[in-house]
């Protein structure tokens, strides 16, 4: 069996999180010398893994020196090379326990599907035909500013069977307590951004409207965003929500 096919079959069935920095395929191996060690880690081998075997201790220059790094979600531009019509997402968070004053310092997570309707998630869920194994594309986290706002640069979401176009939102307090899990809905019908994007390559045949969507069908007044712009210039989405903080 071709190695890449073999690896692919392994990855497709993997239960947790394979991340390809680059493929392990036979054509893409970066050459390394046999004595490439110029730095290493300090400490002893296997102390944290309960190794009972007798192995040599590291005998190397100390290093590397790790630095505190935020989660890969913490960024404003979440496109990760995904192509589609540009979409700037501005979310305003207000505090329903404080006369809807702007809520600063809240964590806002968003995630949505790409132009084809796929999420960055490992493994098959049965709902998606394509498996993306690795990167956390189209997922982001920002902290609200003094005006309660966060802004993300992304692409206009595609759609998948059974759902209207949407963006997932999870708002946490500054200390990480969940305040709200919800979804942003898009205006639809002639003249709207959804009509202009026209479902990208697959069109809108079989598209689920907000009224038929089992999340939005109880009314979208609070979830509905304002979306302006064009396929040429890009779209701007603005949405506000109130959370009890």
């Amino acid at each position: 069996m071709e190695r890449k096919h073999f690896l692919k079959s392994l990855l497709l069935g993997a239960a947790s999180t394979p991340v390809l920095l680059s493929a392990c395929g036979k054509d893409t191996v970066s050459p390394t010398s046999g004595t490439s060690t110029t730095s290493g880690t300090t400490g002893t081998t296997g102390t944290t893994s309960g190794s009972g075997s007798c192995t040599v201790a590291p005998t190397e220059t100390e290093g590397p020196f790790p630095t505190k790094t935020p989660a890969s979600y913490v960024r404003s531009n979440i496109t990760d090379g995904k192509t589609g019509y540009a979409l700037t997402i501005t979310i305003t968070v207000n505090n329903s326990n404080a006369s809807c004053a702007a809520l600063a310092g809240a964590l806002v997570d968003i995630w949505h599907c790409d132009a084809e309707g796929n999420y960055s998630e490992y493994g098959g869920t049965g709902m998606q035909a394509t498996n993306y194994q690795s990167v956390h594309f189209l997922r982001g986290r920002q902290v609200t500013n003094a005006a309660g706002q966060v802004t993300f640069t992304s692409i206009f979401p595609g759609w998948y069977s059974g759902r209207a176009t949407h963006i997932h939102v999870h708002v946490y307090s500054a200390t990480g307590t969940s305040l709200k899990v919800t979804q942003i809905a898009f205006p639809e019908g002639s003249g709207t951004a959804v009509a202009a994007v026209n479902g990208y390559a697959k069109g809108l045949s079989g598209y689920t409207s907000n009224a038929s969507d089992n999340v939005f069908s109880d009314g979208v007044a609070l979830e509905l965003a304002t979306v302006t712009g064009s396929t040429l210039a890009g779209f701007q989405l603005a949405w506000a929500l109130a959370v009890p903080a």
Partner: protein, 177 residues
């Protein structure tokens, strides 16, 4: 038998007893991210352990992936050098291009129960021979210089395994010598 090409897998366990700086950063940040992401699957705080959430909540296996975002930055800081595993000269020598993060155990109220693993998969190696408990390997991508191939001896040890193996096809001229 012609030399086979293998990838080694090192399953690095990180838990409350880990002391080195890189391990502690991974432990701290993966726990913080677990506490955030678990709320997607535990809205009423009905469960406190990862095991319970995984058992009772459909789709909770996505937590492996969702929490992995907290550690990718640290894995990149390793510059594709596999940690901990040494050759018999006491040097780190393995390269990795793939890894797989997994939550083993965690508890929303008891950080000391938080335990994760990072599975590092090495770049391909040519497996020439086995000497006692030592594997004699060389970089599969390396080209012999004047018939001489530089090699490493690596000890079989807990949490180190052969992840994949590829036997050259009989008609393939590669690895024949």
């Amino acid at each position: 038998m012609p030399d086979r090409t293998i990838c080694l897998c090192y399953r690095k366990i990180i838990d409350a007893s880990s002391t080195r700086p890189w391990d502690k950063l991974v432990w701290d940040d993966s726990y913080a991210e677990f506490r955030l992401q678990a709320q997607n699957f535990n809205p009423e705080n009905r469960y406190r352990s990862f095991g319970e959430i995984l058992h009772y909540v459909p789709g909770a296996e996505r937590l492996h992936f969702l929490v992995s975002g907290a550690v990718t930055g640290y894995v990149q800081q390793l510059n594709e050098r596999m940690p901990d595993i040494l050759n018999n000269l006491g040097r780190h020598f393995l390269r990795f291009e793939r890894f797989q993060f997994e939550l083993i155990n965690s508890d929303l109220q008891d950080k000391s129960k938080h335990q994760v693993a990072i599975n590092f998969v090495s770049t391909p190696l040519r497996w020439h021979d086995t000497v006692g408990q030592l594997l004699l390997v060389s970089e599969a991508a390396a080209v012999p210089a004047a018939g001489e191939m530089l090699t490493h001896l690596v000890q079989l040890q807990p949490f180190l395994s052969i992840y994949s193996i590829q036997t050259p096809e009989p008609h393939a001229p590669a690895n024949a010598g």
